[in-house]
Amino acid sequence: MKIGLKKIEIIAVVILYLAALWMWTLPIQNNSMPFGDVDASSHFAIGDYITSQDKSTYRIPYYMTFRYSGQNSIFPDYLWYPPQYWTNGAIAQIVGGERTLSFFIMVAILSSLVILSSYFLIRNLFGFWPAFLSSFLLVFSTRDYMIYLWGQWPQSLSFAFTPLALYCFFKYHQNYKENQSRPVYLCIMSLFLAAQFLFHPQGMIASIGALALYSAFLAIRYKKIPFKIKHFILSFIILVAIASAFAPFNIGEFFSELFAKQETATAKSFQFDKLLKWYHGIKNDPGLPDFYFEYDKVHGSLEGGLLSWWTLPFLLLGLLALAFRRKEEDIVMLGWFVSFYFLTRLAVFGYGTRDIRMFAYEAHVFYPIIAIGLLSISSISKSEPIKKFLKYGMIAVFLVLAVSVNGASAYKILKGQENSIARINPAQYEAAEWIKANLPENADVYTYGTLGFQNYAAKIKWLGVLSQRHFIVSNDEINMTDYLFIDYTDASALRDQNYANAIQNFEKNLQNSTNVYSKNGIKVYKIDEIKI
């Protein structure tokens, strides 16, 4: 039975994406407990609340108000993000039938969709091998799986739409050049830009930046505006209409944050040096580890080493190839690259609060260029047999290095999450479920013994959202405590007797309090007054 090339390609892409999904679900394949740092619990909370209430909500529930009330500066008690990402989480819980596992499967799918969107763009611009190789490398992208582990999920999904926005504008311009006036691709592009706004405006800004630079390069080449003004107006109306219709409480917040300038007291007087360094000397950032700004670690292996630099020569070669060829397909990538450069240097223009977060989509821009650079090597020979040998030889080198350097590092990190102490354990989960079913909705709970105040209180925030009760993470809320959550489980997991003794000593003060729950190393006490 003959199988056509098209079918082989489809099977190859499906296998690639399933391999990505297998990799990215490593943390949950044998452990369905929640994981995720920083914002993860927040992005679980609202969808989970919607599912449990069987009703949508636009107000922040009580237990989340202490963290997010006021973050929507126009509607302070309303949701601080548009609700679509969270609603997808709620849908996954209902469709999949599981509170946590189904949700995290949806997160893994949404966080890895850039592999498909990138493949689609690069396939249409450059063909199968650049697309396959760049998407293959994206499976192991440290930038992307770190954002996934940190819980910045809406932002991650939003960036995945940029390749599609670029594709749509590319197709529109192809028709425009041939005097075919078809705005359909611009309309679909607007739909995708609106979707980016609905998930995280940063993705929309990344797309607008890329489209603006791409358009500028086209304008220089063809000496005219690369679109019809009425089509542009139509697409702008569609973008505003969809964003307003589906996230009416978040439009004002977006503009409020967009025009907020960095405090001049903390800004350096001259920041033009940032234009000359790729990671512009970022170190000791309170929110990000140093390795996030080291090329070899973030595009190779987290352990570093010489081989971790393997992609850099191909990246430089790819940029040279694009700049030398300057076909319209190349201009798409150049526009995306140059816009990325400027968007990661917003501090130079006084918008310093978000430029560091723009590094999150660096791999989306770099990896196709790396693949193009690698494949351009074969063009140095005019002999067809040597060209073929070089091409497939370099592909083999690419695949081996991607797996042995990037893949091995990614596997270690993702697999290591499976039994991480930073995750909620089954005893904590069961206790949280009991609290959800039995304590009043406005209960304020202080935990003693749960690991986490030193790690942005991630685990304690998870307890809060799983129990749908206010778990105190800020010292100025301690006097609100109605219930104490005494947790020996982390001390037990660490086999730290001193830690357990400290908890025991604290618990001795609760002899006159009412013990309402005691199971698997966790106790909950109703108290009148806290003494810490």
Binding site: L21, S56, Q84, S102, L116, S117, F246
Partner: protein, 103 residues
């Protein structure tokens, strides 16, 4: 080809992620993605565009519809309602385009 791909996804989801994984992945495809794929199938675009556009449009528009319907209906009912609405829209487009072609 579609059946083969769906089969691969079903086998993977069951083996790697168990029953919940199978239900989540296949359920997401049927309830969220399929209606949009049928909708986009009415338009004169390539198969690749239909597939990719439907995936990315679905994950943005479907939750938008469900979310807002979830204020007037129970959320689970809103989910089914959005599914039905997109399916109906895709059939309505199909009939409309068929009629305009025959005229």
């Amino acid at each position: 080809m579609g059946a083969i791909v769906l089969g691969m996804l079903a086998v993977f989801s069951a083996l790697a992620l168990g029953y919940a994984g199978f239900r989540t992945i296949i359920g997401t495809i049927i309830i969220i993605l399929l209606p949009f794929y049928l909708l986009f199938s009415n338009f004169n675009i390539s198969k690749g565009e239909k597939l990719i556009f439907s995936i990315f449009a679905a994950i943005a528009i479907f939750p938008s519809l469900v979310y807002w319907a979830g204020f007037i209906l129970p959320f689970r009912a809103a989910l089914l309602g959005a599914f039905a609405a997109i399916l109906l829209a895709s059939f309505a487009f199909k009939i409309y385009f068929r009629k305009s072609q025959s005229v």
